[in-house]
Subunit: 190 residues, 2 copies
Amino acid sequence: MQQLIDHIIRYSSVGPGMADGIRDFFQVKTFRKKELLLQEGQRCHEKFFIVQGCVHLFYLRQNGVEQTIDFALENWWTSDFMAFQNGSPAQFSIRAIEATEVLAISAVRQQEMLAAIPELHEYFHLMFQRAYAASQIRVRKTYELSKEELYLDFSRKYPAFLQRVPQYLMASFLGFTPEYLSEIRRKFLS
Amino acid sequence: MQQLIDHIIRYSSVGPGMADGIRDFFQVKTFRKKELLLQEGQRCHEKFFIVQGCVHLFYLRQNGVEQTIDFALENWWTSDFMAFQNGSPAQFSIRAIEATEVLAISAVRQQEMLAAIPELHEYFHLMFQRAYAASQIRVRKTYELSKEELYLDFSRKYPAFLQRVPQYLMASFLGFTPEYLSEIRRKFLS
DNA sequence: CGGGCCTTTGACTGGTTTCAACTTCTGTGG
DNA sequence: CCACAGAAGTTGAAACCAGTCAAAGGCCCG
């Protein structure tokens, strides 16, 4: 919990006294490897701040293959935000890739929290601006680079992260097949 | 200006009196067809609320082709948000597709505005959450659908919008070549 | 009426997927 | 701690979606 409070203080003008008020609104949850935080189709509308661990956001394709659209690590927020804001059924599932601890808050509880501490809007304003800015960059990359280059770019930038996730998830995230990733890796031996 | 004030009132708990305080912070700007609102590489850090018209966000590929990554219409915000928040050189250009009127605010002026009217954080919190939620859906679509399906999906959902932008921009946005779009259209006669 | 930009067409090419079989790794129960 | 089963990764062949290139036709605007 302190980790989130620190994060809020760091990225907004909310002071320690104020930030401490969030304690009652969040729920600590832990998940084991491969457990689901959120199930596609469900109506369990929470968002998650990751204290420790790693998750992926995915949906099920018609052919039954799970398509990963995002990962999230320590100090990131994650959720199906369309479902979160509209109360509609989730279009994505979220699963722990490792043992993971999160702070969870429902949409309703968040409303109460923001009513009690409106200063937090500043924090979330910045968080979503960052997330959206990152997504603009991501879209640019997916247009600009070939699948091969996408992988090389990613492995140059986040070599440590590659160790944390299985290859088939990485391939899915980058938008191609595990087989093709295998071929790329062979080509660049390693 | 009233249009933005109405938008703020509609999407936040900011009252009319409060919202009216934004007037001094924005600049009305008008652009003719094909004029640039923002130039890649520049350091002119504004964000834009579109009052009337239509713009596209794009960057220049190595081969010299302009790659469109987004459009924006009336009542939408647009900018290179990474540049906006970091003060770094813009990675995108923005150009008017039609004659366009916007309300512009620089990062510095926005800070002053938010200091004066902190309640606006609530409005921007919601705006960015919506934008980010939409981008999650978009990523899902680009993974899920073939290029052909992407076009059909888009033309079913926004038939009116197709009339507003030239085909080569639509093709670019959807991630393929004008030639291929031509082929798709022929296939589905129309 | 002319010029340039946009769109169409067709042939060829290649990056990437699909499928199927095989190998290697991993975790769980005996 | 070992053995085994299922999961994850590798390989190769065949097929295809979509890009590239080049050239011609249509259309808008000065």
